[in-house]
């Protein structure tokens, strides 16, 4: 008996120890994990009635702003009314594609059309004073003017690209227009006698195939050509405001039904 007692105490002790060890392993194997519960989501628009600013951020911006204000606050021209871009056709697209058309025709008298892209116009324009900064915001990209000679048989492909996008800013000579459906389109304008190439002014971004205008990039493979003109699209806009507008004669644009939706 006496020899058994210590053994039993030892066994109980050992069992308790093992139980504690097992419990410890179990506890340490428990990993606390959060359950995220969605509460709310909102957009916080800055309240312009409250003067809210950060002195730290202002201090960082100020030297950069001062440098820009040396040139960017200049008035370069005037606009008759506020303009936004829209599809298939909008005031801003018509204003700017006509600017490009008027410039490009001075170097390419047989220009047929201008094709720009909706995504390239980056901000609406206000009515009244247009500053240099505003033109930069409208066209921040350093895109150059490009002239593409597109074989006439490739015109349906160009129309298709514009149709699929639901319209892009264009301008066509002689009050021509583009009729678009969901995935095809037809250009309507009078061809010159024996005309085999369509002469198009665009940006080098599009002529390189940007924004899905692969039809321009592949023009040389079909006998056409691409010629860069060395002038920025932004400078064409800038010069149009500087040369063609003043306070009493602001620039303006209309909806001209250049792009017509629906089946013919």
């Amino acid at each position: 008996m006496t020899s058994v007692q210590p053994y039993r105490r030892s066994t109980i002790h050992s069992n308790l120890w093992l139980l504690g060890l097992a419990l410890g392993i179990f506890i340490t194997s428990c990993k606390s994990r959060l359950t995220p519960t969605y509460v709310s989501g909102e957009l916080k628009q800055f309240d312009t009635s409250v003067v809210l600013h950060s002195a730290e951020i202002d201090a960082i911006i100020t030297p950069y702003r001062n440098e820009l204000e040396l040139t960017m606050t200049d008035t370069v021209g005037y606009l008759a009314r506020a303009m936004v871009k829209s599809r298939p056709e909008g005031l801003l697209g018509n204003l700017t594609s006509k600017m490009v058309f008027d410039y490009a025709r001075t170097i390419e008298p047989e220009l047929d059309m201008v094709v720009m892209n909706h995504g390239g116009l980056r901000t609406p324009l206000p009515s009244g004073v247009i500053t240099r900064s505003k033109v930069f915001e409208l066209m921040p990209f350093d895109n150059e003017l490009a002239i593409v000679d597109l074989p006439i048989e490739r015109l349906p492909e160009l129309a298709r690209i514009i149709a699929v996008k639901g319209g892009d800013p264009i301008w066509i000579r002689d009050e021509g227009y583009l009729q678009i459906g969901d995935s095809s389109g037809t250009f309507h304008f009078p061809l010159r006698e024996g005309q085999k190439m369509i002469r198009i002014a665009t940006s080098n971004y599009l002529s390189n195939g940007g924004d899905h205008y692969t039809v321009f990039r592949s023009a040389p493979e079909h006998g056409g050509q691409i010629r860069l003109q060395g002038i920025l699209i932004r400078d064409i806009f800038m010069n149009a405001f500087i040369n063609d507008s003043d306070k009493d004669h602001p620039l303006d644009a209309d909806i001209n039904n250049i792009i017509r939706s629906g089946n013919e």
């Binding site: 990993k31 995220p36 519960t37 989501g41 909102e42 800055f46 506020a82 901000t123 924004d211």
Partner: protein
């Protein structure tokens, strides 16, 4: 998981406790909340829109945004700040200074992580590389392979942010650059499937690294008329992402859109529009469920 789901789940867990009877299970302990602030497509809009009669006159501005962020930080305990790309391009600040000011401001505001938008390539890989010295935040991209460019090893696919009791996994995915960005600007950068990349990273973050919440910063765009990959696609084909903070399409989502992922769980998609007009804000509450790391704990799936 919305509140109703959570209550429903809590009932299930409660039943499990009654059956299992383990005193080690704890449930429903309220912890510190989490506030996620986010922006996208702020496009170098350093100053508020001018008071010129335009649609957005007086709105936006980095200084106002910073003050608002600071106010939220003062009011909340655990705040993270994220951006979904297109930081660059849009005002003369970028034309003249190449993105230096944008990165300096985001660093000063305390951004935790961002992903890359297509316009962040507008100064080319050299231009982006040059500005990295000003970025005191993580730039995350899981589906652009920069290994053959000067940006090799400069970015991570994902990161973990710890705030209070929270362990948050954040990853980034970007849009196909072909035909969108001039080829000379992205050079040898290789675009890979964003959904596969996002799922790979999210699985790692959620299941291996045990993050409480997985956020995807996406510059894919919210949705398209075509079948082009978008945040809606990403949401539907994901499994371990809780929240997509998107960009590119300049979509104003007044509140998160709730979609179902491929296993039928809720996933939220957000986008703030553009130009820093808005600051997105999402609040989560937390509870704990102690989960025994053994295969018998089927209730783990409820979490």
């Amino acid at each position: 998981m919305n509140r109703r789901d959570f209550i429903r789940n809590s009932v299930k867990v409660g039943a499990g406790i009654a059956v299992g009877g383990s005193p080690l299970w704890s449930f429903g302990k309220a912890l510190g909340g989490l506030t996620i602030l986010y922006t996208n497509d702020w496009h170098s809009r350093i100053d508020p829109f001018p008071m010129d009669g335009g649609r957005y006159e007086g709105l936006g501005g980095a200084s106002k945004r910073a003050a608002l962020i600071e106010k939220v930080r003062n009011d909340s305990s655990n705040v993270i700040l994220l951006d979904a790309g297109d930081i660059f391009q849009g005002t003369p600040y970028f034309n003249y200074f190449g993105g230096e000011l944008e990165f300096k401001l985001m660093s000063a505001m305390g951004y935790d992580a961002v992903t890359l938008g297509n316009h962040d390539f507008d100064a080319g890989l050299d231009g982006l590389a040059k500005q990295l010295v000003h970025a005191r935040f993580e730039i995350l991209t899981a589906n652009y392979d920069f290994s053959s460019t000067i940006l090799k090893n400069k970015f991570q696919p994902s990161t973990i942010i710890k705030k209070g009791p929270w362990k948050i996994g954040v990853l980034g995915v970007g849009i196909d650059l072909q035909n969108l960005v001039p080829a000379e600007h992205f050079g040898a950068t290789r675009y890979t499937d964003p959904i596969a990349a996002a799922n790979r990273e999210a699985d790692h973050l959620k299941n291996k690294l045990k993050c409480d919440l997985v956020i995807c910063l996406s510059h894919l765009g919210y949705e398209y008329r075509s079948d082009k990959v978008s945040d809606v696609h990403l949401a539907k084909y994901s499994e371990n992402i809780d929240l997509i903070l998107g960009g590119h399409t300049h979509t104003f989502l007044r509140e998160p859109v709730i979609l179902k992922n491929k296993i039928g769980k809720n996933i939220r998609v957000c986008q703030t529009g553009w130009a820093g007009i808005n600051l997105g804000k999402i609040d989560y509450e937390a509870h704990t469920i102690s989960t025994a790391a053994n295969p018998h704990s089927t209730m783990l799936k409820i979490c």
